[in-house]
């Protein structure tokens, strides 16, 4: 069944996804920039004081992951990602505090978030791909009954 209209609770979940991810990324960015530069795959060593900005970031990203999983359980992946692209706007708004924003980056942020928003929300497309319903239990029974009937009826008709 295609969900052409989302419930308010589902909008709330999508809002949480698009809010928690950029806020978490911002907190992590502040935490990671206070660390010494690290060499992959060795993690950066940091003092507890310098890792403090990253802690709420991890909590926010856990919240993002929980709401992301919930959204994926009732919507397509290709619907959830554009629908939550508003997070790029929040990143662009929050990032001047931690990084420099050139005009091209502003336009890129606008481009990358406005198009999915226009496509995902304004067009109100179906959130889930329609698939044939698989009623495992009853259908198997029906097929078995039908198969038995198909086997027995010719047998009855035959002399």
């Amino acid at each position: 069944m295609a969900h052409h209209k989302l419930l308010p609770r589902q909008y709330l979940i999508l809002g949480l996804v698009s809010l928690c991810a950029p806020l978490g990324d911002t907190c992590l960015s502040r935490g990671m920039t206070t660390c010494r530069p690290s060499r992959w795959p060795i993690p950066a060593r940091s003092s507890p004081r310098s890792s403090l900005p990253g802690s709420p970031g991890i909590a926010l990203l856990i919240g993002f992951f929980a709401s992301y999983l919930t959204a994926l359980s009732w919507a397509d992946l290709t619907f959830v990602l554009p629908a939550t692209a508003f997070g790029n706007v929040i990143v662009a708004l929050l990032s001047p505090a931690s990084g420099c924003m050139s005009p091209s980056r502003w336009s890129a942020g606008r481009e990358s978030c406005s198009s999915p928003l226009g496509v995902g929300f304004v067009a109100q497309g179906p959130s889930l791909t329609e698939r044939p319903v698989r009623n495992r239990g009853p259908r198997r029974t029906a097929v078995a009954i039908g198969g038995a009937a198909a086997m027995t009826i010719p047998a009855l008709r035959s002399p």
Binding site: E111, S112, G120
Partner: protein
């Protein structure tokens, strides 16, 4: 894609939570092996993001990673998940590619 496939195989979490509570929903997620494969790759992506944030600005890293994720997921969703990626979603992916190009320059 693996996580999405896992969540599709589990079903609507809201319905599961309504029937068997939050513990039942968590149990349904944690008993799916496909979910852990997805989490492994998500963790890999997360540490790559941390590494990138350690060297580059957030304003470059976050939109670039999100946009590239969107494009690759649109392709993978069409191929592996057999999702109905209609013209609107493809248009979004193309426009996001333009956004990434602007980011790189």
């Amino acid at each position: 894609v693996l996580t999405a496939a896992a969540m599709k195989s589990i079903g609507d979490l809201d319905e599961i939570r309504a029937h068997s509570g939050l513990k039942g929903a968590i149990r349904a997620v944690l008993t799916c092996p496909l979910f852990f494969a997805g989490v492994f790759f998500l963790a890999l992506a997360f540490f790559s993001l941390l590494f990138a944030l350690n060297h580059l600005n957030l304003s470059l890293v976050a939109p670039a990673s999100a946009s590239l994720t969107l494009v690759t997921n649109a392709i993978a969703g069409k191929i592996f998940l057999k999702e109905n990626v209609d013209r609107r979603r493809w248009t979004a992916a193309v426009l996001v590619c333009i956004g990434v190009y602007l980011l790189a320059h």
